[in-house]
Symmetry: C2
Subunit: 132 residues, 2 copies
DNA sequence: AACGTTATGTAATAATATAACATTTATAAG
DNA sequence: CTTATAAATGTTATATTATTACATAACGTT
């Protein structure tokens, strides 16, 4: 069960926007889109993004400097994330594959390092773009 | 066998710097360090970095906006990369684990997408930082 | 009410990355 | 050697992404 976190005003505005967009959004595009709602400064956006990432409502797509709503209802915190990214149309989707996440969560090597978090990004061509 | 690519002047200066540093370096830190060698503008650095990434001599650590020399002699192109990152001291090392790379290179799901590339970043605490 | 914590507002600035254009150097073919 | 082509360089300006610093307000608990 996902704990219902009580989002603040700015957090809610920004989460709703990203969620409705259905894809990754960049910080300044978010800013542009919420200015009519009174959010005027980059920092207001980044603060809300930070919190939303922290509680797992959104994830950052590191290779794109963009943020996407969690598509996996069980992601409470952003600690084990995997995405597929189309290099042509830039479509992004969150991969939720229990075998993959088990494999990676249990991964260890001989470095003596304990891994508590990972982020994986796959790149390629989506179905649509392949057939062009 | 790794093809010996003939690096240009700027590419060589920048690769040598990153390689000698032994860890990840940021673009503007690189710029600062090569100014005495006549490389004066960000674009000169970014162009060399782009090429070095393309041919696999360095990789970009996406979550840190930093670049590290390839520690795995067989990485001809940056198409299958995995790193471990200490969240305390920011030490980064390239993971070369053939099981892991096989598993990820062969990964496929029912999305219909063909993956040609991936990047994986593990986060945690390194041996040293754990024992503090 | 008093307190500590979280969120907000605002301005300025830092850090990261690319666009546009002119020129030079390297590579390969004829 | 000459011409053509691609790759690399130099330079200026600018775009994009993200944080610092400081002041104020709202929220949750006792
Ligand atoms: Zn998720
Ligand atoms: Zn596509
Ligand atoms: Zn490598
Ligand atoms: Zn460490």
């Amino acid at each position: 069960m996902q704990k219902e976190y009580n989002l603040s005003k700015n957090q809610k505005i920004i989460f709703d926007l990203i969620d409705k967009s259905g894809g990754p959004m960049k910080a300044y595009s978010i800013l542009f889109n919420v200015q009519k709602k009174g959010i005027k400064a980059p920092l207001q956006v980044y603060r809300a993004l930070d919190k939303l990432v922290e509680i797992g409502k959104i994830h950052k797509i590191e290779s794109r400097n963009a943020f996407i709503a969690c598509q996996n209802s069980s992601c409470q915190i952003s600690k084990a994330t995997a995405f597929s990214i189309c290099e042509s149309c830039e479509n992004v989707s969150e991969i939720s594959n229990s075998k993959l996440s088990k494999y990676l969560s249990n991964f260890s090597d001989n470095s003596g390092m304990k891994y508590s978090k990972y982020n994986l990004e796959f790149f390629g061509l989506c179905k649509k773009c392949k057939s062009k």
